[in-house]
Amino acid sequence: MARLIRTEKEVEGRYTEQWIVVDEDVLEQWPAGPLETVGRPVPRADGGQRARGEARYTADIKLPGMLHAAILRSPHAKARVRRIDTGRARRAPGVRAVLGPETGPLTDEPPYEGAPVAAVAAETSEQARTAVSLIEVEWERLEPLLDPEEAVRRNELIDEPNREERGEVERGLAESDAVVEAEYRTQTVLHNSMETHQAICEWDGDDRLTVYISTQFIWGVREEVAKRFGLPEDHVRVVCRFMGGGFGSKNGPGDYTYVAAELARATGRPVKCALTRREENLDSGNRNSTIQRLRVGARSDGTLTFLDGEFVNATGWDGWLASTGGPMRLLYACENVRTVEYGAKLNTPPMAAFRAPGFVEGTFGLECLLDELAAKLEIDPLELRRRNHSTHDAVDERPFSSKQLLECYRRAEPHWERRDEVRARSDATWKRGVGLASQVWYGGGGPPSYAWVRIGGDGRAAVITGMQDIGTGSATAMAQIAAEELGLPVDRIEVALGDSARGPYATISAGSSTIPSMGPAVRAAAADAARQLIEIAAQRYDREERVLSLKNGQIVSSDGGSWPLEEITGLLESGQILGKGSRGPNPTGMRVLTFGVQVAEVAVDVETGEVVVEKIVAIHDVGRVINPLGASSQVEGGIIQGLGHTLSEERLLDPSTGGNLTQTLDAYKIPTIADVPEIVTDLVDVPDEHLTNLGSKGLGEPPIIPTAAAIANAIRDATGADVRSLPITREEMLRALREASRQPAREEVGA
């Protein structure tokens, strides 16, 4: 029965209250462990297309008559257009339309470098770019606000400051035997999906619009585009079949989509607007930098007495206040916790969600602080974390729906115990050490999400849903879930997705939510179809329904006899069996979270500041694992992004102009294959018994969260140097080593 509920919806750690109609989830969870298909490694269904170069991404789509857009972007961090002359651009070869700052989202008061000011549509991308260079602008340059601390002082903020407190920090302080206080900083990093942001807009008359777009959320794009152009939502079709990475930056339509739509309307032709790599790194979002002033107190036995944090997020001109204080509030059992988070509004490009926004930054600070505390108390860092393990959400007293963090710690032990052996391999130049860090994050997903399952006469099944596969392999996981429920080999399942006109509403692929949101709906739809198959088979073969089941493409009767599925479906001729399913509610009164721990082994060249990460062990609890192959791939990908975040990636802004100096991939250094450590993935794989018919949580984000702190803690273990600022470049490493050598009283560590 459909049920109307008022529920809390969480995406990327942001909660909203909303009404949702849900079908009650009536299916029992499958038993734990690998099943026929679920829980076993399955190569992605469309891997061959991708490996052949035949997969058509938005970047590869060419429509008849399609024009190309280019955008004039502000070269100044804060400026006003005094005068603009688009005459020469209009007359340039191939140009079909020019839009000036009077057309939204273009602006004549750009508030950050890279903000869109004017746009051109031309026959080729080269012509469009040339025409943009012919637009003449007289700028009035204004003084930009670039310093986040100054913005906080001036109360120039994005959102209200978020102040949360439980217990009393002052009381905790009074009870403390040891207190550690430190300031941590994290840098701005850029997503750099290999496919840049892009969209193609094509109007059909003046009230129907098709948008081909590289996106993580076709339904969100549909809603926002419809709203902007005053169209019924069903008049906007959004298509994203193959997608070249997003990492949080492609959750919405973005200015480029509106520019393409406006130019398409002006010209009556389809228009593609594709960002160049430079534009991508200017204005497609970023993980904002942070300043974290943290304090922790503990009794001599390691029990935390208080945690106190002030967090300044350099949010930029727009965006939202990411939950940098979240880990401090959620990770440990501590009675007295106070966090204050500020979002500084600056003349810099807006932040966007980036793989566990806030938690990546906040975990770096918190987990380094914990290790500094462990050193002060002379308690083993793993033991300190165990002693402060929380059994329920201390924020609101809710129990966790499941939590296997202690099991993660248990599995971490043998890797942690390698410390002496690793340290012993140090010499005069290379110091080696081991560090660890814990992780907490959301990842439970939620309603609504819907799926249909269609079975044809040939006994093959199609899963139809309006979700998108952003590269993670979630389509393959859906095929596995349907195959399991229908007792079919996975190669008899098609997954049709990526088109709002050809499937029901599905979740955003962000916030580690695709599998936990979508998977249960697919299973429910498959179960609905399976029920119908059994009912028909019972009549055809004169058996009771309860003795029939589906297995290996057969209808099997427990009292003997089995029939190929095609025998029943073949009776339908052109008829089809249609199942539908929806995502049920999350467990009421419980907190659904993911947990994990990572152990890093590093080597530091103390003469040149080179840091080599030699090994990372990632142990995570995300409930049931659907596809171990895809899951370990997510873990490895998260860790290598974490490695870049820790060691080499940083968006640099000129301190006086606010201009981005690292727009290209030679200046902005993401890791290469030469930088990867050995990565060991260990997933606990115990279903969350309270969460949906699957017991699966999301895995996109957890693996990136503890990496930076684990590496920094390993560096401290190896060298005794406190690295409190990311990235740990050569100069930062050398600075920290110099500082450590000036503190003679430090505990002797390393070999």
Binding site: T608, D654, G659, L661, T662, D666, K669, P671, R730, E731
Partner: protein, 279 residues
């Protein structure tokens, strides 16, 4: 724009006149043309006009880094410099002649800030961000020369033969001045044809960068020992490849507030390089 593909040196010299630019591997020039940092009416592809290949101690300017790095005849410093210079894709196209004439990676210059090197009045890196910039001879321009290969050749004491003259590689480069801001002394249209690289007793090239491969040098140190002594040269430390008398010459550097760390790295790499080439 036009493109010419002369098949002889004479034809190439005739084609290289005002408004034209010589293209070898293209890995440096193509992006500069695309970004309109270099403007040209005519591209003259010189691949069929300049020598390519290795003969004893002579290296054709059109030889790619990829060809050099696998050749057992060339000195270790040069081979390592080629191998560490860039990605395999870039090394397969990029030539040694072109590599010597690389422009700086200074972000202000690449992003076309109206800086001193572009003919403007000031160096933005001085007041701004300069972690990757020069620590020697960094006024009035703090740009760093990126060529690993040039540092290796400088340490090795190579000679450059152009279509007009022969000169020690040190003389190929010049520090820019207010009225002439070029970094090389090549005349307009002058082509590097060949390099003469004496065989050292031992040589090495060490490079510190922000990731393990495929990044420009924060610090590159080349060392070559010959009967006359051991020569040191640096990449990424000055606006041009930098010859260093000895380790103590690092004390003469004039680092900016944000790049003194380079000297610390250089000190360590120099010591290691000297150990590597010691008899």
């Amino acid at each position: 724009m036009d493109i010419l593909r002369p098949d002889s040196l004479e034809a190439a010299r005739a084609a290289l006149k005002n408004g034209s630019v010589a293209l070898a591997g293209g890995t440096e020039l193509v992006p500069l043309l695309r970004d309109r940092i270099v403007e040209a009416d005519t591209i003259v592809e010189i691949r069929h006009a300049v020598p390519r290949g290795i003969q004893g101690t002579r290296i054709g300017a059109g030889t790619t880094l990829g060809e050099l790095e696998v050749d057992p005849q060339i000195p270790d410093a040069l081979r390592e410099a080629c191998r560490l210079a860039a990605s395999p894709q870039l090394r397969a196209m990029g030539t040694i002649g072109g590599n010597l004439l690389q422009a700086t990676r200074c972000w202000y210059w690449r992003l076309k800030y109206p800086c001193w090197l572009h003919g403007g009045g000031r160096c933005f890196a001085h007041e701004g961000l300069h972690r990757e910039h020069a620590v020697f001879a960094n006024a009035p321009c703090a740009s760093a020369h990126p060529s690993d290969v040039a540092a290796a050749l400088l340490a090795l004491g190579a000679t450059v033969r152009t279509d007009r003259r022969e000169l020690p590689i040190a003389e190929l480069y010049r520090l820019p001045t207010g009225d002439d801001r070029r970094m090389t002394g090549l005349e307009p249209g002058e082509l590097i044809l060949e390099l003469e690289v004496p065989m050292p007793a031992a040589s090495t090239y060490l490079k510190a960068m922000d990731r393990k491969r495929f990044a420009f040098a924060l610090v590159g140190v080349a060392a070559a020992r010959s009967p006359e002594g051991t020569r040191l040269a640096l990449a990424g430390m000055a606006p041009i490849p930098w010859l260093l008398e000895d380790e103590s010459a690092l004390d003469e550097a004039t680092p900016l507030p944000g790049n003194a760390y380079k000297l610390e790295i250089a000190r360590a790499l120099i010591r290691r390089a000297l150990v590597a080439v010691a008899p």
